[in-house]
Symmetry: D2
Subunit: 141 residues, 4 copies
Amino acid sequence: MKTFTTEHRVIYGDTDPFNVVYYANYFDFFERGRTEMFRELGVTYKEVSSMGVYLPVSETYCKYHKPAQYDDLLVIETRLAYVKRVSIKFEYRIYVKNSDELLVAGYTVHGFVNKDRKLVRVPEDIYNRVKDLLPLEEEGK
Amino acid sequence: MKTFTTEHRVIYGDTDPFNVVYYANYFDFFERGRTEMFRELGVTYKEVSSMGVYLPVSETYCKYHKPAQYDDLLVIETRLAYVKRVSIKFEYRIYVKNSDELLVAGYTVHGFVNKDRKLVRVPEDIYNRVKDLLPLEEEGK
Amino acid sequence: MKTFTTEHRVIYGDTDPFNVVYYANYFDFFERGRTEMFRELGVTYKEVSSMGVYLPVSETYCKYHKPAQYDDLLVIETRLAYVKRVSIKFEYRIYVKNSDELLVAGYTVHGFVNKDRKLVRVPEDIYNRVKDLLPLEEEGK
Amino acid sequence: MKTFTTEHRVIYGDTDPFNVVYYANYFDFFERGRTEMFRELGVTYKEVSSMGVYLPVSETYCKYHKPAQYDDLLVIETRLAYVKRVSIKFEYRIYVKNSDELLVAGYTVHGFVNKDRKLVRVPEDIYNRVKDLLPLEEEGK
C-alpha cells in the first residue's frame, strides 16, 4: 500500500497550555497530507476544483496516542483507504521524524460533489490516478 | 438526557473558500460546548486543572451533514455520553439557531490524567456532579 | 465616540504553552468586534458583500499590554476611527470583563473593493450608517 | 543585512471565503519565520525557553499588499531589525515562491522576560549569535 509523506514543524500557534498540539490542529495536518498526496499523484486539489469537482469532508476521526510537542518535526503519512463511485477515504498516521512511535492515527471520508454540493461520480482522471494505489480487490468503483 | 447549549457566531476566520466552516474548526466549537457544560454543572475545567487533573482528548469523531456558513449563529448542544473510572465521553450536535436541521454531530473521549499524563481515577467531586446526567443503567463507574 | 462591545470566552484552542492567548488570535477577536459593530449599526458584513462590496484588511497593528488567559471572559471594544472615500479604520481594545486593565489595543484599516479587488467608493448606505459615529471634523469623505 | 527564508504551502485551513489567506494567519507564518531564523543561528526558541527566557510579542504590524491564495507556496523572509538590552525586533516579507511581487510585510517586537513575565536582559549567548546580523551602527545594546 503506497504511503505519501509530508512534514510539518510544530509552532506555538499549533499548541495549547500543555505544550502539545491542540487536538483540532491535527486535522490541518491531515489536510496537508492529502493535499501533498494528490500533488505527488500529478493532480492538485486546485486542478480538481477547476474541473468543478470538490471533495468536502463528510466524516473524520482521530485517535490520539501520544501528544506532539512544540518544535517537533512531524511526519504525516497519508494513504488511500478506498475510492468509490462518489466518495474517497484517506488514512493518516503522524510520527515525530526519525521515531517510530505513533502519535495520532485518523481518517477522513470525502464525497465528490459539484458546485451545488450535489454528489457526482469521481472524475475518470482522478480515478485512474489513484486506482493503482489500491490492492485489486479493494477497487470500489 | 440533559443537554447543555452554547452559541457561536461564525466569522471569516472560521471559514474556507467554500464560504463554510473549515472542518477542523468544529472541534473548537466542541471544546466550547464541553467547557460551558462543566461551567453550568458548577465546576470549570480551570478548577479541575487546579486539582492536578486534566482531560486530554483520546479520541474524536465528527460527521458533517450540512455546512455551517459565514455569519450563521450556531447552537452547540453538548451532552454526557458516559463517565467511567478513568474516562469521559461527550456528544455534540450543532444547528443553526432556530433551525432543527442538523449540521454536524460528533463526540470526544477524554482520559482523566495527572500532570505526568498518567491515567487517574475521576475525582469524586466531578463524578458526583455529572452522574445525575446519566440514566441509572449507564453509570459506568 | 460610540463604542461597541462584544464578548469572547478564551478556550484552549486560543492559547499557547504559556497559558495565554496566542498573539495571532487577537485578530480573530478584532474581526468579531467589527462584525458585531456592523450588525448593531443595522447592516451586516454579509449584506455588504451581497452589494458586491468587500472590506479586505490592508493594514493591522496590535500592542500587547498584558496577556489574556485561558477561560477569561474577554470584552472586545470596537470603535470607528475614520471612514474615508475608499477606506475605513477600526480601533479595538480588549479587557477582561469587569476589569479596567487594558490587555491589548490595535487597529485594522480596510479598503472598499469590488469582486475584482479594485478599490471602490464606500457605498452611500454604509457611509450614512457610520458617519454619525464620528465627530464632525473627522468626517473624511 | 542577512535574510533567512522558510516556506509554507497554503492549505484550505489558512484561507477564507475569498480564497485568500485570512489576515490573522500571516502571524503564524511570521512565527514560522523567526523560529527557523533562530534555528539557523544555532539556537532554538525551545533552548532559549530552557534557559528560563521567553520572548512574548509586545507589538506587531502587518501591511497587506496582495493576497496569498490557496495552494500558493509562500516564501517567508525574516531579518533582524534590532536587538536591544531587553527587546528584539524582526521584520518579515512574504512572497510567492519564484515571484518578486511582495504579498505582505510586517514586523514583531518581543521583550525578553523570565517565567514571571518580568523583563530581563537579553542572554549573552543570544546576543552574540544575532549581533553579527546587524550593521555596526545599529547594535543597540
